[in-house]
Amino acid sequence: MLAKRIIPCLDVKDGRVVKGVSFINLRDAGDPVENAKYYDEQGADELIFLDITASHEKRKIILDVVMKTAEDVFMPLTVGGGIKTLDDIRDLLNAGCDKVSINTTAVKDPYFISRAAGKFGSQCIVVAIDAKRVNNNMSDATGEDWFTETALKDVILPLATGELTWAISTHGGRKMKLIDAVKWAKKMEELGAGEIMLTSMDRDGTKDGYDIELTQTISETVSIPVIASGGAGTLEHLYEGLALGKADAALAASIFHFREYTIKEAKEYLKSRGVPVRL
């Protein structure tokens, strides 16, 4: 039986692992390769490096991190952050990573996803969606000027809807877009994404648990795997994301990084609650 996956996520800046609250206050938590080995030994199902390096000149550092990791760690590795071109993807795959996660570039140019999937295969193209519940505070959002193509018009979020909806954000949560997150997920699947990494920006860094409604809605809308992300603070939250949110994988950062729980403890707990996991 296919096991639900537990995926630690490491934020990497200039070659060092950092993780903070809601992308703002960063605390240093060590060397990426050592972290990767630690999670490998614990039996993590995959690993994600989110590269938050700001300056373009330092972006090559992540390739070195990936190469060193692939020498010693034999598990699926995803890298996200700052991927703009097909060459960026090729360089990462050649360095030894298995999947790349793309957010902002997909929003700027949705057909980048088709080109990437056509060239490297859907299985290595993960689309990261940062979703935020829509309130009336969308005045600074943009989006109408995008997607002039008829095929993409239907993903623009209609305002003044009474229904619960989520809009997407880019640039690490700093920019909101008038794009319906659920329709966007479906569109990304159609264009060739192999997996969705779904982060609730309302919950990210809060430790209040995943946004279950969001996770369930998108998991049931697409037929590709969904990784729940943003807000995991307890083992119960992992259970909720997988069992109630119907996610295929649960991503967590701080609860593992600061050794509150080990991966093994998390999996034993999930197993006791009837979730299929690999132990």
Binding site: G43, A70, E71, F74, Q123, G194, I224, R278
Partner: protein
Amino acid sequence: MIAIVDYGMGNLRSVEKGFKKVGIDATVTSDPKIVDNARAIVLPGVGAFRDCIKNLSDLSLTEAVVRSIGKGKPYLGICLGLQVLFSESEEFGRCRGLDIFKGKVVKFRFEEFGGKVPHMGWNNINIINRPPVLSEIPDNSFFYFVHSFYVVPEDKSIIAATTDYGVTFTSMIWKDNVFATQFHPEKSQGLGLKVLTGFGEFVKKA
């Protein structure tokens, strides 16, 4: 020396590093002569069946691979390296394979079982007919999979292991010198490395 055949389909570095980790000499190559002279060959790869067949042909590797298998040289196929051994794939209409084994490559149909496609993650293998390369692997062990298509061999006696994902599909085949897995040993942590070790041992004895 084991030749890891590079035909431009995906991450060969992990396979090379995996063999290195367990102390087995393996070289990545796209030179048909090196493939011809190698003691054993490994054909990894993820992606599209059609591109795989085309790239092998464009690099003049098809003959060398088929010849090596025919001569009884140990072969380890991984993912696409399993699928291309069969007669044809239903991907993009129809596409001819290497036809070493009779059978088809078909797609998981989401509509039929409601599961996500690709089949991505860790799943168990049920060992039906234990090949020597799995000698150290307990039955029902978890391996890492990522694929949307699976093989349906006509000759059921070549099925070494099966896996359940909506359907029960063939996750490994074995016939004489040919071993091929749908899962990725190079991504399956310690157990995966044991499969690579098992293949290395088989090559030594061959």
